[in-house]
Symmetry: C2
Subunit: 700 residues, 2 copies
Amino acid sequence: MGFSELLYPESIAVIGASRKPGKAGYAVVDNLLKGGFQGEIIPVNREVDEVLGLKCYRDLSSYEGEVDLSVIAVPAGNVIDAVESAIGAGTKALVVISAAFKESGPEGAELERQLAELCLENRVCLLGPKSLGVINTHHKMNASFTKHMPHSGGISVLSESGGVCTAIMDWAAARHLGLAKVVSIGNKADLNEIDLLDQFVKDDQTKVVVGYLEGISSGDEFVKVAESVAVLKPVVIYRAGITQAGVRAACLHTGSRPGANIAYAAAFKRAGVIQAESLEALFDYATALAMQPLPRGDRVAVVTNAGGLGVMASDALELAGMRVAALDERTCTALKEQLPAGASIGNPIDILGDADPDRYAMAVELAQNDTAVNATIVILAPHAMTKPAETIRAIAAHVHSEKPMLVVVLGSADVMPGREELARANLPDYPFPERAVAALKAMHQYATWRARPPRVVTRFPVNRRRVERLVLRQVRTGRQEFGEVRAKEILRAYDFTVPEGYLAKDAVAAIEAAERVGYPVAMKIVSPDIIHKSDVGGVKLHLSDPEQVQDTYDLLSLRIQRRAPEARLEGIYIEKMCPLGLEVVVGMRRDPQFGPMLMFGLGGIFVEELKDEACYLAPITADEAMQMLMGTRSYRLLEGARGQAGVDVSAIAKGMQRMSQLVTDFPQISELEINPFTVGEAGSEPVVVDARMIISGVNQ
Amino acid sequence: MGFSELLYPESIAVIGASRKPGKAGYAVVDNLLKGGFQGEIIPVNREVDEVLGLKCYRDLSSYEGEVDLSVIAVPAGNVIDAVESAIGAGTKALVVISAAFKESGPEGAELERQLAELCLENRVCLLGPKSLGVINTHHKMNASFTKHMPHSGGISVLSESGGVCTAIMDWAAARHLGLAKVVSIGNKADLNEIDLLDQFVKDDQTKVVVGYLEGISSGDEFVKVAESVAVLKPVVIYRAGITQAGVRAACLHTGSRPGANIAYAAAFKRAGVIQAESLEALFDYATALAMQPLPRGDRVAVVTNAGGLGVMASDALELAGMRVAALDERTCTALKEQLPAGASIGNPIDILGDADPDRYAMAVELAQNDTAVNATIVILAPHAMTKPAETIRAIAAHVHSEKPMLVVVLGSADVMPGREELARANLPDYPFPERAVAALKAMHQYATWRARPPRVVTRFPVNRRRVERLVLRQVRTGRQEFGEVRAKEILRAYDFTVPEGYLAKDAVAAIEAAERVGYPVAMKIVSPDIIHKSDVGGVKLHLSDPEQVQDTYDLLSLRIQRRAPEARLEGIYIEKMCPLGLEVVVGMRRDPQFGPMLMFGLGGIFVEELKDEACYLAPITADEAMQMLMGTRSYRLLEGARGQAGVDVSAIAKGMQRMSQLVTDFPQISELEINPFTVGEAGSEPVVVDARMIISGVNQ
C-alpha cells in the first residue's frame, strides 16, 4: 500500500515549501531539483507564488494533476490540515518532516495518534513524523532536507534518528560508497523498520542494508522479515538505548521503548542480522560488506611494512577468535627468495619499512593465492620512503574475487591521494589493525550463518493431549502458578525424566507411597499458596525408613499450620530421591517483543550471581541447543573439569529441545523453569528435581 | 651518561650520509637541515665530497671539531667499524638506524651484543639499533628519517617500533598537537624505555608522555620510574604482543619477549600508567590529556543536536561506569526558558537539529557552570542547517579551565573547516560518542589515581626471626617445596590463624595429640616426597574418638607404603578440624619481570576454571587489598548473596597484607598459596586450612 508511490513517485507535493534557505521546506524543494528528479514537483505555500523558480500553489486543491507523494513541512499544529489536503488531492504516500509529536509529551502523542488514524482510514502510507525524508538514488529522488544527494549504489539505509541518518550519508560520501534507498523512519507512527526491510528484500538495487534503531515495533515479525533479507544480503544494524541511561535518553528522543538487550541479541543472532556495537562499527562493517566478498574461513594473512603493526594485527586476530594463517611452505619459500634479508617470512609477513609497490604486490599476491589463507589484511605505515598511491594501485591489481582483502592505512592525512584509488579498487581501508579485524570477523560470522545447515527443529513424540487437559484445568482454577507436582506432570508428558512420586493425604498413605517408590525418599509439602517450599521448611530429604516418613509427615503438617496458617495444604508429596549429579538450570520466559526465549545456565550461583547464562529464541534445533551450552563461561565444567568425568551434554541439549517444543506448542506458558535439572555421566538421563511454571490466563 | 649529547647535541655526524633521496642517510641530513638545526652537521661517506650542499667527509677522523652525537646509517656489517670511528672522534651518544640485528636471528644477535659491549666499554650511550632516530623540537633537531619535523609542543614520544613512531607523529600533525622529544628506541641494545622515562621526568618541556612498547626491560625499575613520571604528568602506553599470536609476531619483529599480560596490567595500575588497549585509544586518550584539564569526578553533561547521538553517549557513559549527571534545577529552568519547544531539558540536553551557534553556546555554558557537572561532551551532527566552524568558535568561548570539555563531530569531511578552530581552542574532538567517553574515562581514572591517599603499607608485628631460621633451614635441605606443616609454621609466625596441630610418629602419639587439640581432628600424612596428599589418599577428616585416630593412623601408614613405596614418611599430622566457612584462595607468585604479585580469588572452580582472580603487586596497602577483593566477578558472594550472611572481608584483606609483608620480607619465597583460606562472619578470624610454599634455593 503506497510503497511504489513512496519510493518511485511521479509527482511530489511539498506542503510548507519555502523560499528561505535554512528552512526544511526550502531544502526539500532544493534537493528535489538538485537531485535531478524527473517527475512533477508541486510546492505548496499559502504566502508565495514561486519557490526556486517553480510555480507555487496556495493550496493543493488548486493543482489539477495527480499527486503520488506529499512531503509535509509545516508546524505540528498545521500537520493534520496539510495531510487532509494531501489526501484530498489523491496522495498515496506521505512523508511528515514536522517534529513535536510523541517525543514531546502527551499532547504530541495524541496528535500523532490522530495523524496515524487519518492515514490508516484513507489507506495512505505515512513516513514519520519527525522524518528527515526519503531518498531513492536510482529514481533520482531526494525528498529530504539532507545536504547532498548521495551517489547511486547498493547500500540501503534505514534510520530511526535523522541526525544518525545524516551521519550515515556523510560516511558513505567520504568513503565514495553509493547508496540505493535512504529512509528516515522518524517516530514510526505508521511505516516502521519491518515494512522497509520487507521492501529491501525485493529491491534488486539493494545489496547491503544498514540500519540504526532504538526500538523494534514487533519482535517476531522483525525476526521473520530480517531473516528473509539476511539470507539474500547482509543486514547490519546498530541499536542504541541498551543501558538504563540510554533507555532514558531514547524515551526523551523518539519516544521509543527499547526492550531487553539480551532478547535483542538473541533475535539478531537468529535472524542473521550483523549487530554493530557502535556507529563506528556499523560503518566499518558495512564498508567491508559493500566492497568485498565474504571469507570462506577464519585464516588470515597479514602483510605489513611495520613490524609493530603486525604484532597489533596478530593480537587483534587472536582476541577476536580468528586465526593467523599458517602459510603454505611454497609460499614461504617464494617469499624468502624475493624478500630482502631482515624481512619476516612468517605470518605476519613483514616486508620492511622500505617496501616499494612491487614488493607489496608480490607479497600480497603470494598471500592471496595461498590455499591456507581465507582473507588478507594489508598494512601500510607511511614511512618516508613509502609511496601510498602507487602502492595501493599495485595492491589493487591483486584483489581476489573470492577472498576478501582489507587494507589498514595509518596516518590518513598523508595518504589522502590514495583514498580514491582505494574506492576505485573496491578496497575497504581502516586506520588501525583492530578495526579491520573486527570487520573481517563480522563478515566471517555472517558467512558462517549463511552457510549454516538448514534449520531442522526435531519434534519428539510426546503426549500433547495430556498437557492440553492439564493446562485447560489450570486455566479454569484461575491460578497462574503451577506447583511443582503439576509442572512435573506436564514435563513428564513431554518425556522428561521425573522421579516417581505420589501425593499423600495422611501418614499411612505417605508410608505406602514411600514403599512403592523405594527408600530413600524426599517429602515436600503441596500447597497452591506456597511457592517457595524451602523458605517455610517444607522440604525434607533422605528419609530412609517408615518411622522417619511418619515423623516427617507429622512435622511438616504441624510446621505449615504454624508458619503459614492460611495456606491450604493439599497433602505431602513423596518422591524417590534423585541420583546425585551436576545441577543445571533450563528455563523459558516469554519476551514481550520476541516471544519464547530459552535460557540455560549452571545451577546455583552461576545463574543467580554470576549471570552466566545463554539465551536463544524458541524453537531451537539440536545444533542451536549445543551452541547455547557452549555459550556459557562455565561450559568447561560440563565437559568435566578438575579431574571429574564430564556430564552428558547431548542429554541436556535434548532437554532444551523438548522444552522448546513444549513452549512452542503451548503459548499459554509464559514462564517455565527446571531448577535444578540434574545431569550425570554420558548415557544417563537428566532428572527434573524441581520445576515451576506460570501460564497466562487467556489463550494468546 | 651521554643524555645531553643525545637530546641537545651541538654537533652531529651522519655516518652513511647519502646523496640519494629515499636512502635513510639522505633523509637524516635533509631532516637536520629542514628542521633548522643550529649546530654542526657532519656528513660522512667514503664515496662523495658533498651531501645536500654540506661538505662530506670520507672518514670521520679527518674532521677536526668535536662530535657530540653520531647517527649510523650503514649496512649492519659495517656498523661496528662506523661506531669505532665515531667513538674515536669523541662521540658521546650514538643512534644506530641500521637494521638486521637481534630480530634477524642468532648472527644478528651476536652482532648486537658486540655493538652494545663496544658502547658500554667506551661509556657511549646507544639508541637502537633499528631506531628511526631522535627528535627534539625544542632544540630544532630532527636526527631521524621521518618525513617531517613535528610542531613544537608538550608531548614526548617513545616507541619500540619505527612504523608506530611515524604513525604517532602523523597523528600529532593531523591533530595540530605539538611534540617535545620523539625517541625511537628500536632494539634497545642499550637505552630503553626506563632510561627515557627517567629523562622525561626532569624535562620541563614534556607535559604528557606517549609510548608504544612490546616488552619491558626491567619490571620493578619500570614501575618505579613510571610512577615518578605519572605523579607529575600523564603517561599513556599502548603495549602490543598480548596474545600468543602477538607474542610470536613480536619475537619476529624486535626480538622482544613480552611478559604475562596480567602482570603488566598490575604494574601499570600500580605505577599510574594509563594503559591504552589499541593505537587508536592511545591517540584518543593522549589528545584529551594534552588539551584539557583532568575531571574532578565522573558526572558528565551531554549537549547534542541529534537525539540518537545523545542515546549513544548515555549508553557509552553507563557501560564505562561513568555517570550521566543529574542537572541542577536552576540549570533545567534556565534551559527551559531559552530552548525551543521540543528540545529536551534533561541530560542529554537535546538542543534539536536546527541549533545555531548561539544555542550551543548557551547550553554549553549552562552545563559547564552546573556544580553537579564534572565534564561536558558536546555533540555536533552535521544537519543541513548546522554551521560547524561558527558553532565550534561559539563553544570554544565557553571552555572551562577546571572542567574538561570534549567534542564529538560526526562526519569529519563536512566540518574540516572547523578542525583548526578546535585545535586553536584546545578542544579535543572525536568522530563517535563512545570514543569521547573512553577518553574521559581514562582521564577520570588517572585523576583518581593522582588524588589517591598516600600509600601507607601497614607493617604488622610479626616473628620475622623465626621465619628467617625456618627458611635458612629449608635452604640447607636443598628442597624447594615446603610441605603443609612447615608452610603453616611460617604463616603462624606472621600471625595467620592456623589450627592447632602436632606431628605424631606413632599411633599412641597421634591419640595424645588428638586429645590435646580436642576432637574432631583431621589427620594428614607428612612426607617431603608427597606434595599432593589427597591424590594418594593421605588425608582423613572428622575423626571423633581415639579408636578412629588409631585406625586412621594405621590405614594412612599402610596406604603410603603401598601407594608411594619410595616416599619417606615423617609422620602423621594431627590437627584440630577447622570451622566451616567460605573458602577463598590467597597466593603470591613472583613474576620474573615485576616481582611479587599477590593473587586473590574464591576457592574451587572460581580460580581454577573461571579464572576469576585479581592480581596486584606487593607490597599492598589496606585500600589496595580491598580493591583486589572487589576486583573479582564473584565479590558479591563475599558480601553475602543468596540470603546468606556476608563474610568478614576486612579480615581477608588483612590476610593479604600479612602475606604481602611476608613475601616482601623474604625474596627467597618464589611461590606461596593458602588454599583454602576459610573465612566466616564478621569478627571471626580466617583460618589457613592448607598451604604450600616454594623457595628459590639462593638469596636473590
